[in-house]
Symmetry: C4
Subunit: 277 residues, 4 copies
Amino acid sequence: MSFLSTYALFRKKVYVVIYQTNTKAGRLFDLILLGLILFSVLLVMMETVSEFNLKYHSYLITFEWIITILFTIEYIFRILSINKPVRYIFSFYGIIDLLAILPMYLSLVITGSNILTVIRALRLLRLFKILNNPQFTTQSLKLKRALEASKGKIVVFIYFVLISTIIIGSTMYLIEGKESGFTSIPTSIYWTIVTLTTVGYGDISPQTPLGQFIASFVMIMGYGIIAVPTGIVSAEINKINKSKDVTPQNPCINCDNTDYPGNAKFCPQCGHSLENN
Amino acid sequence: MSFLSTYALFRKKVYVVIYQTNTKAGRLFDLILLGLILFSVLLVMMETVSEFNLKYHSYLITFEWIITILFTIEYIFRILSINKPVRYIFSFYGIIDLLAILPMYLSLVITGSNILTVIRALRLLRLFKILNNPQFTTQSLKLKRALEASKGKIVVFIYFVLISTIIIGSTMYLIEGKESGFTSIPTSIYWTIVTLTTVGYGDISPQTPLGQFIASFVMIMGYGIIAVPTGIVSAEINKINKSKDVTPQNPCINCDNTDYPGNAKFCPQCGHSLENN
Amino acid sequence: MSFLSTYALFRKKVYVVIYQTNTKAGRLFDLILLGLILFSVLLVMMETVSEFNLKYHSYLITFEWIITILFTIEYIFRILSINKPVRYIFSFYGIIDLLAILPMYLSLVITGSNILTVIRALRLLRLFKILNNPQFTTQSLKLKRALEASKGKIVVFIYFVLISTIIIGSTMYLIEGKESGFTSIPTSIYWTIVTLTTVGYGDISPQTPLGQFIASFVMIMGYGIIAVPTGIVSAEINKINKSKDVTPQNPCINCDNTDYPGNAKFCPQCGHSLENN
Amino acid sequence: MSFLSTYALFRKKVYVVIYQTNTKAGRLFDLILLGLILFSVLLVMMETVSEFNLKYHSYLITFEWIITILFTIEYIFRILSINKPVRYIFSFYGIIDLLAILPMYLSLVITGSNILTVIRALRLLRLFKILNNPQFTTQSLKLKRALEASKGKIVVFIYFVLISTIIIGSTMYLIEGKESGFTSIPTSIYWTIVTLTTVGYGDISPQTPLGQFIASFVMIMGYGIIAVPTGIVSAEINKINKSKDVTPQNPCINCDNTDYPGNAKFCPQCGHSLENN
């Protein structure tokens, strides 16, 4: 066997392992990858906890470099084994795969930039492909469709909310003034969003009676309008759930009736067998 | 051509540019207007950020005056070019257009009143006209109709909430007393609203065991009753979504009625056959 | 006319004015009563605002006494004019009417007890009778029915939430200890409710990593389970909305069809007139 | 009567009292048990309130020991009277029953471990059996089924939320730095969850304009996505409510099948006529 055909075979095998999930090797590869991603995200997190970092800094860095090199090899193999490498490189996952290894090499030049490796968390989105669970993909598809159907209404809603936010924020700035923490209109808008979304940090809170009165109004408004996006999404999911139930069935060959349970053997209208339907 | 007919022609052209969106010039005008509104709102905001204002005060003021003069010219042209100027002046947008330029002129007399130009944000509501996107207008119409249909139930709901607020606020005032920040009944009512809407600033919070017990009760209540407006709006959107499915039917050829069940054979208004509809 | 019949006539007239809303005098009486209730609630509130009370104490007390005497007269007239006075006295509104006047007289004995007159706010519940607005009563009836239908599910839900609250609260007490403000299990349960309902005062917040981890879990849990009561109520309102649409109609006298629009004049199935239906 | 048969009779009687709820004695036993559980949970809570514990420590400990001994006797009787004791011991309630008594005995060795008796609260879950209320069990079954049906969508949703949480938390760590309280990525993730779920303690809050801008974005996002789980659960409850309307139908007299459309004339499983059903 020539070198070229050996390479072609190797390339094909690598492709199956990396890109496919229906072989045993492919599944194992995906699981190891998933574990490595989780582990590397955890490493970056731990590095920022100063007590932990002080004690185990060298271990953390060592492990980060090992994973980065493994990810680099994986990235090169992904490019080599695929038929349209350019397409992969500029795809969503291709860019994330690159961004997941770059910061570590960058940290050789700029100290501390290895923190950016936390972007690896985005690689976890591959999990759905890895799990290859039809139920999950159906559910996430449904959810996606419901959210897409809601998009129009939600954009309109957020637009109105943002304009209200500017008006209310400016009003509170004029009423409360700099003493209560409403130091500027942007800060007041920040406060309005904190209040309207019912987060309520309390780092800024109105002190004057009039300010508290308007704040009360904003809260009740926020409490009420949270109903709007919920109502929208809920109605859309409802619609999608319902449309699923109506999976069109073959009509009975005797009487054209389509209204029968999915497991029916005989047509409930004429009693004809549905075996050959 | 006489001066008058030249003026009439000019007036007509201005009308098309300002009020209509289906010509290229009209669309461009709207986009520039939108940009100017956004820019001027940003200017006012930046003016209130003291570090920024100290450095760039003269630039900010200059730009604000330029935009105000442009808006003034636009306002005059809007009045001149329309057939019923009085109607425009006292319309919702007419008043906003005036309020958007007044504060700047007022600032010549009263220092600082130019902050009020933030009211220009309301001009952003024109965006929907500008976008002229049928999908958006349909969506906002639907949302509006769902909210209108919910109005009755929501008014009843808010009325009950407000009465509860007075009772709970007074109770907490009696239990907690002035030491915990419950200095008066209005302040206690403010706290109740902050708690009931799950905002929870923490500027006032109960200290006595009994107060904390009642507060827990209020929170669980607030947590539960948030379900009510959401449920109302969600059910209404559901209804409107469903009614949408009832795509317009051919009107009865005898009386133009379109309100009949899908399987109707005779028009329910005039009794005419719908066979050939 | 004898004294007795004069009294009977007077009593009847008073009854019409106080208890009925369909005469002009009855409507006027209700509106004045509503105004007085609102005004008296406002008076009590203002009395607790110390700056305000210092200045206007004598005015506040005078007005409170005037309103109390007016309410006392109203209460006596309500008892005298009704046929079954005992029934009224022990009814919900009867007790509230009494509680609305008692604290003021009590304040002659116990200083400060006039604050309790804030209970007058409950008299505002009469508003629905006063407005006599069929739309509002329908809406509040529907809301009431939806909430009643949800009761079973919501009781089950709150029961589970309360047990979770005890378990989580105790766990946090053991983890965080007294330094972080988790001074006792009841206090920790209070914190759990504050967190689970997404109120989040911040007066108590976890400091240890493990505590913060569990708190994160509680928040996501709280965020998720808020869906449950909302889903319940929303589904119930949906059901009631739907059932309303199916107001049973008289079947067509010609073909027994009941599926026609509410304003139909002819049966859409057979074309028969629905006039005498 | 021999000793063995006396014991068998006694064992049977105990079984009826402990495990069954349809006799008077069984019902009384359950009510007393419920009272004891509530009382013992209250005792543990009170023990952690230091002022209370200082005064009444000996009483609290005495009562806790009495209840523990009673529960121990009950546990032994539960094991003795049931036919498959091993099955009970390793069942959910069996383990809880054991955990409810162990900590007290453990406290003889390790001081303070009696706090763990708070786990007795889990015994309250038996309440549903005790109440034996068909309405409640139906409701909780429905709720359970709706939540199970929502599980798939909610897992997908929480997975996306958690990944967002890691990305946002890391971003905020990089922007805000250690001065604002964002001391490490785990802490920043904790802050993100606190904000996204609209809890908003305020113990950590962004100070830089960019941080506040991103926080605003997170809040609006959190405010919007709370719609998703609510929408999911609400749609599922809706579905289950509707399916409930399909009141059980008479089974087919030929094959006992009950799953057929309401207007069916022939059984869809065996083709038998449903006329005389």
